[in-house]
Symmetry: C2
Subunit: 88 residues, 2 copies
């Protein structure tokens, strides 16, 4: 049996950090409240995840491409909301 506990932990970790942003996207989309979201955080995180996606493509890793591709989309949506609904 080719069961690797380490890789299972890694897989669940990737799954959780990928889906984590979905409730944030939903909440922000619903409330239009972006006051406490940090723009520098979103910009740094977006750039970082974009580079993780490039790394996944270069390394030919489908799981990295899927996880980081999904997170890039979530982060783009949050950035769009932050810029659109930001006051002052």
């Amino acid at each position: 049996m080719n069961f690797d506990t380490n890789e299972l932990i890694g897989f669940v970790a990737a799954l959780l950090t990928t889906i984590a942003f979905l409730p944030q996207v939903y909440k922000t989309w619903k409330t239009k409240d972006v006051s406490s979201l940090s723009l520098p955080m979103l910009l740094l995180f977006f750039t970082g995840v974009l580079l993780w996606l490039a790394y996944g493509i270069l390394k030919d890793s489908p799981s990295m491409i899927f996880a980081n591709g999904t997170t890039v989309v979530s982060t783009v949506l949050l950035l769009r909301f932050k810029i659109k609904y930001h006051k002052k």
Copy 2:
């Protein structure tokens, strides 16, 4: 020269997604405004990053341990702020 562009991209990606949470921690600490932070996001992300840290320890990867250890601390702080300053 043992220069690997892929690994440089991965390193910068890890650095950016790790430091990204610092401006969020600073902003939240300073403003005490947690209204637009999603609690499910923080809980999912915290659990995911904790598992990434476990994965890094199991894989004996200093860079994963450092990056995810730092992000665990940032996320614990954000969770603490969210619970402490949450209204209603």
